[in-house]
């Protein structure tokens, strides 16, 4: 198991939504996006197409935790943006993943 910092723990209890939530945060790190745009972006960066049920299950959790927030919109496609808390949670999570990846690569190299 990856060691979790306090910020990293924000995503820890998302259950089956933790990976989609991470992908959403990564997608929003670039710019605010609405649901459909996130789905497209995530498919491009990770090769996974999130279904609407999964996407909004993760979005609702992220919003409830204050990691993302909706922006005002004229049409029915509501865009979201990363909050400061979301940004720090994403940073912590990515750092933690990178630490694990580095360890794995080091061990592979020395094997």
């Amino acid at each position: 198991m990856m060691r979790k910092t306090e910020d990293d723990a924000e995503l820890a209890d998302f259950g089956r939504f933790s990976e989609p939530a991470l992908l959403i945060l990564i997608s929003l790190a670039e710019e605010p996006r609405h649901g459909y745009s996130m789905t497209e972006d995530i498919e491009t960066i990770a090769g996974v197409r999130l279904g609407p049920g999964t996407l909004y299950g993760a979005l609702a959790r992220l919003e409830a935790r204050g990691l993302i927030e909706p922006l005002k919109s004229e049409d029915r496609r509501n865009p979201y943006r990363l909050t400061a808390l979301g940004e720090s949670a994403l940073r912590a999570r990515l750092n933690s993943m990178m630490a694990v990846a580095r360890t794995g690569q080091r061990r592979l190299a020395s094997a």
Partner: protein, 169 residues
């Protein structure tokens, strides 16, 4: 595919319905997508707290599933303390009345099918009375009496028919 939105709680639909509908409309329908939406709807019913405390509060069928589970668990609709007291008293009184009636009839008619039927029906009497009182509590006294009378009579006649048939075998 927008009908699938109806699977979600009202509170959830009020918050995400429109944008969710837009995403739904933009995707090609497939079995995987239907399952994904179904899973999302179940999740939304099971975890209403994911909407957060500051979300718009809408009373209605958003808690329908939880309410139904609650009702199944306790065996009936939500009752006020007064309604519960009345239903319990009626059940107890009916059980006592039927027990006395059974004893009296047994003394007079012994094991006649009509008495036997009364005995077996009496097992369900308190339950039927309790249920009818609970579910018909918003109806008039006359409707309650008619429904109760009809339900209990039907039960008694059924048991009587069984015993009459049994006595001929």
């Amino acid at each position: 595919m927008n009908w699938m939105l109806r699977l979600y709680p009202a509170r959830w639909r009020a918050r995400y319905g429109e944008e969710f509908g837009a995403v739904l409309a933009s995707q090609r329908a497939s079995v995987g997508m239907v399952l994904d939406v179904l899973g999302g709807a179940i999740d939304a019913h099971l975890h209403p707290q994911i909407l957060g405390s500051d979300s718009k509060q809408i009373k209605g069928d958003d808690t329908m599933t939880l309410e139904m589970l609650h009702r199944c668990a306790i065996g009936g609709p939500k009752l006020s303390p007064d309604e519960r007291r009345i239903a319990s008293r009626l059940s107890i009184i009916s059980a006592l009345v039927i027990a006395i009636l059974y004893l009296v009839l047994t003394k007079i008619y012994r094991q006649a099918p009509a008495v036997q039927a009364l005995y077996w029906t009496s097992i369900f009497f308190p339950n039927i009375i309790y249920r009818q009182t609970v579910y018909l509590r918003k109806r008039t006294r006359l409707t309650q009496a008619l429904m109760l009378g009809a339900g209990l009579s039907a039960m008694y006649l059924f048991m009587l028919a069984v015993f009459l048939l049994g006595s001929k075998l």
